[in-house]
């Protein structure tokens, strides 16, 4: 799965959970500052991303996902088979 695929899938999740249009979910956007997504929605997004991409995103990692790009990179790395 490419980072573009992850971005597309992540944007769908964000739209489903927050109602923010998927095309606004671009790599440079900050979840909290630009998209106004709060910590509880971030938990829901992380949970949905775990299911969708088959990765693990622990609570401690969520705090470090400041931008959409951070999340895409995290999922890409987490999805690499050990």
């Amino acid at each position: 799965m490419t980072e573009q695929d992850i971005l597309t899938g992540l944007a769908e999740i964000v739209q489903e959970i927050t109602g923010i249009a998927a095309d606004r979910v671009t790599p440079e956007q900050s979840f909290s500052n630009d998209l106004d997504i709060d910590s509880l929605s971030m938990v829901e997004i992380a949970t949905a991303a775990e299911d969708k991409f088959g990765v693990s995103i622990p609570d401690a990692a969520i705090d470090d996902l400041k931008t959409v790009s951070d999340a895409v990179s995290y999922i890409a790395k987490a999805g690499v088979p050990a």
Partner: protein, 322 residues
């Protein structure tokens, strides 16, 4: 001593409900006067607009007794005919004595056994299961189950993460035998616990309540829909058969997420939290009683009760509304 064992086995059901809601209302704006928060922030993240706070001279016992007396009146059951009083609470000011014996005495339930039960916010559903089993086995014929909490004594009113969440109150139910030939009106309980995550919600010795909000949110929104579905399956019904879903009123966002995952498409979903806050063990009976008062559920409707909280503990069962 008077033997309390009943005769032949009975099928348990809910016979009555009662609520105690303290008079004093504390709004989000009231909290924002002393905390760095505001009404919109609190409502967005919790669904809470206001909560009830008990008076200084009110406590778990007085609130539980008031709710229980109302439930007895609603059921048409005399206090003298109560065999067991179960008080679900985690906010007694001291651990000795417990609340239940004092509640029984306040009610005039002179021949009742009495004990407290601490399963935190899940306590009412645990107590309801114990009560149903006691009626079924003949150990008791009429049981008072009351969730009662004075969380305001345990909240750190300078901590905006937790102070915004909680309220005080009590909610009671009377469990007794169904009319002859009728099936049980209290379905099998589905319960569980995870002491490995005891630190998510706790009160350190000598301290105030602490809560890891995001971790609790994640646990609740990912785990509880399965518990809810299991409780439906144990009762032999589908989620779509439910007329009401009454989850613990911890946070409207949790309620919404669990309800969405459960898929109880025909059910009214309890939303008492907006006016009441999180009242721990009192929240499920308060929310159920309000749904009935408002005519949103009626006698005979199937309602799924689902409670969860510190421990971690959780429990749920399907009941027929009385």
């Amino acid at each position: 001593m008077t033997p309390t064992a009943a005769g032949p086995q009975e099928q348990p059901r809910l016979l009555g409900l009662g609520q105690h809601r303290p008079q004093r209302v504390v709004t989000n704006d009231d909290l924002a006067a002393t905390l760095d928060t505001d009404d919109a922030w609190i409502r967005d993240r919790t669904g809470i607009s206001k909560r009830r706070i008990a008076a200084a001279d009110a406590g778990v016992v007085t609130m539980a007794a008031d709710a229980s007396a109302k439930a007895l009146a609603d059921a048409g059951v005399d206090a003298a005919d109560v065999d067991l009083v179960v008080v679900a609470t985690c906010t007694m000011p001291t651990s000795i004595p417990g609340a239940a014996a004092q509640v029984a005495s306040a009610l005039g339930a002179t021949r009742a056994g009495a004990f407290d039960l601490n399963a935190a916010c899940a306590g009412f559903c645990y107590g309801l299961s114990v009560a149903a089993d006691a009626v079924r086995s003949g150990t008791a014929r009429h049981v008072v189950v009351v969730g009662a909490e004075k969380l305001s004594d345990w909240v750190d009113w300078t901590d905006r993460r937790s102070a915004i969440l909680f309220g005080d109150g009590a909610g009671a139910a009377i469990v007794g035998p169904a009319p002859s030939g009728q099936a049980s009106g209290i379905g099998p309980v589905v319960w569980g616990s995870d002491g490995g995550r005891a630190d998510l919600i706790d009160v350190p010795v000598g301290g105030k309540l602490r809560l890891d909000g995001p971790a609790v949110f994640r646990w609740a929104t990912t785990s509880l829909a399965d518990v809810a579905r299991s409780a439906c399956a144990a009762a032999g019904i589908e989620p779509t058969d439910l007329a009401a879903f009454v989850p613990h009123q911890a946070n409207q966002r949790i309620v919404d997420a669990v309800a969405r995952r459960l898929g109880a498409t025909s059910a009214v979903v309890a939303d008492d939290i907006a006016d009441t806050g999180n009242t721990s063990a009192a929240s499920v009976p308060l929310a159920l009683g309000r749904l009935r008062d408002e005519g949103r559920v009626a006698a005979g409707d199937r309602a799924l009760l689902l409670a969860f909280g510190a421990g971690l503990t959780w429990a749920g069962q399907v009941v027929d509304v009385c």
